[in-house]
Symmetry: C2
């Protein structure tokens, strides 16, 4: 294998021309044009297009620079490896819902993948009240398939441990352990919040019932290896248009609690919902879009649960439990009850992890664009106070959540919605 | 490194003489005598003694034979590696309570360790109503120290993941997953039970509430990486005399649920308790020893809980949660509540895993000598029926267990003991 060298917009073309396995996706002998579109911190990202056809692809390469605090070159390369192996796994399990991987070069810390520039990262269009008619279907399929097929309900014990070993991802886990479950809820220099929320932030930090519940969610994240989770599945990790949905950036992937992924999707929709109190002053327009968002939340969970259970029934080869274990008079009902209890557990965890993530966006290292794009701090505080109340309830009252309506009900009760 | 070759009672002496690092524990130039004392299946075990002093040691070497169904040479060698690295970890965390490791030779699949032939495996002396005045103290120290110091309450997130990666132990886990949580409770050719228990065994297999609870315990075993557990801590894995206790054979070690280890110790004491209905016909003698055993159970849990909490307070450097997280008015009480909830969780899991293991000993691949040494099948069935009732309650009613007295109470209610 060649040694590592960082590419530029010229050498990337030479690299691609010398990689014959890419001939299916790019005309390697035809004219090509490359432009760097990354944020230049950890990775560089090139979009490479054939001038003579509509063929194109993306080259993502880890950079050996120390531009971000606490980051180092071996970690950046490791991150690229986790992203690539998760992308390959997601392509296998949820084809069409993630960018295709065309080529991986470990020595070059480089992955060549599908160009998604016809799609938009979801945050901005959601703030612009755009609708995604297939999103609930697509994301529930992604969640059901990636989680079910990497769980002990599908895998054998040996297969699961091999997957777990492949995805032991300590440094990326630590980022979430610190910045989702810990630092936002105590004094830590990187925390940022709306100064109008001082009282609320201090109240969260001193709320023992909430802190205990958050500690339980962190224990779940650190120790419950239920399935291979994306582990950073906010709406900034989803690109979409009206027809297509693609989940990107899975470098945090490891075997963790399923509810963390579902909770990430749902809480980001709630934060977007709350942001419209500022972004959409017209009451009717706002209510209509907010009702759409709550409908999305309901649909995503309902479809996820139905698809997860259908996959289980159709692919019941895992060792938790083997089909034969339920082979007795009454066993079919017991297996149905086991599936029901499993989904009830995932819903409680969805609320707990989603609530923790909602809270950390209000008082941790980084908020979400839906909220930070509200220029007026008083208007922003309206949404943020509601997020703190809803997030706190999702975490603390998660064991009283028995249906998606219970979870949505907490949004409605706090936001006084009619939906 | 030299290639693998199986040793015999002559070549083992040559091997030791050529290993100068052992000079502290054996006089390498003095006369030596070696005898093979293993069961000859997977490993051979030599006791090597100096003729001229009381110095001695044990050599354990994996054997490349296919004598046991489903076993193979790479797995046997892997097993030796897990045993050795767990022994080293246990020596570090609980010195004096495990055999010392003097030397490890991976190429030879060989470990040289402390000779424990002055101690007895606990099962037979417990059947003979022997008492171990330091056992509760020793085993609770072993449990508290090995579990606390390998948990997220002590380790950083990065340290814990490194430990977890080192102890991904798929084949040995699968043995427990199959033979503790699954096969005993369905039709499987290796299952053995007292023919007088046909009705009870069939009833367990058809008891949906119990099967659901057992599935939940298996999920805990497969996915809850709380700490490095021994994972086979029955009284056949403990050697003792009146002064000393040594935990042996940790080849099943992996990061799993803490309650599995504590449950193993306690349920084996219950099985021994029940065996005395046959082994000790004299009522007063029996009641006295049974009361001693229940006292042991109470002491082991009580001391474990006190030691675990004391270690936590004295070594609060883990990331679940960092000390600073509880640094606010009322935080000290919240941290105390977190410790209380954690120990309550471990007790429920102790009951659940202990109950599952008690049940599997009645109807799975292998029982325990305490019970199988009862020659009369009708007498044996008395103990076994009680074990099935107690084990079932420990599993199904575990969430109603709030103190060690609740757990012991179920033994007393079923066995009609006077306590």
């Amino acid at each position: 294998m060649a040694a590592y060298r960082p590419l530029d917009s010229h050498s990337v073309i030479d690299y691609l021309r010398a990689t014959p396995s890419l001939a299916d996706v790019l005309d390697l002998d035809a004219p090509m044009h490359a432009r760097e579109v990354g944020d230049g911190n950890l990775n560089q990202v090139f979009i490479v297009e054939n001038g003579t056809s509509d063929k194109s692809l993306v080259v993502k390469q880890a950079l050996p620079y120390l531009r971000v605090a606490g980051e180092s070159w071996p970690l950046t390369r490791e991150r690229m490896r986790f992203e690539t192996q998760a992308l390959l796994k997601h392509n296998e399990l949820a084809p069409g819902l993630v960018p295709q991987v065309y080529h991986y070069d470990e020595a070059m810390s480089l992955v060549v993948m599908e160009n998604l520039s016809h799609l938009e990262v979801m945050r901005r269009p959601l703030v612009a009240r755009k609708r995604f008619p297939h999103f609930a279907d697509h994301i529930s399929t992604f969640l059901a398939r990636t989680l079910f097929f990497t769980s002990d309900f599908y895998l054998t014990g040996l297969e699961k441990k091999a997957l777990q070993a492949q995805f032991i991802n300590p440094h990326l886990c630590k980022i979430q352990e610190d910045f989702v479950f810990t630092n936002p809820f105590m004094d830590s220099p990187e925390n940022r919040w709306n100064p109008l929320l001082n009282a609320e932030v201090q109240a969260v930090r001193r709320n023992s019932a909430l802190k205990l519940a958050l500690a339980e969610m962190k224990a779940s994240y650190m120790t419950h290896a239920e399935a291979l989770i994306h582990s950073d599945l906010h709406t900034g990790s989803i690109m979409a248009n009206e027809e297509t949905t693609k989940v990107i950036d899975p470098e945090f992937a490891f075997c963790g609690p399923m509810g963390f992924d579902i909770g990430a999707v749902l809480e980001n929709l709630v934060l977007n919902y709350l942001s419209h109190f500022a972004h959409t002053p017209d009451v009717d327009t706002r209510k209509e879009y907010q009702a759409y968002l709550l409908g999305l939340i309901r649909e995503i969970w309902t479809q996820f649960a139905a698809k997860f259970e259908a996959l289980w029934l159709e692919n019941n080869r895992g060792e938790l439990m083997p089909a034969k274990y339920w082979d007795y008079p009454g066993g079919e009902e017991a297996f149905a009850e086991f599936r029901r209890r499993t989904l009830a557990h995932i819903l409680r965890e969805t609320a707990g992890h989603g609530g923790a993530k909602m809270l950390r966006r209000m008082m941790g290292i980084v908020s979400v664009w839906d909220i930070t794009s509200i220029a007026d701090l008083a208007q922003r505080a309206v949404a943020e106070r509601l997020a703190i109340r809803i997030g706190s309830r999702w975490v603390m009252e998660r064991n009283a959540i028995h249906s998606i309506d219970d979870l949505i009900g907490m949004v409605c009760e706090e936001a006084e919605c009619t939906g």
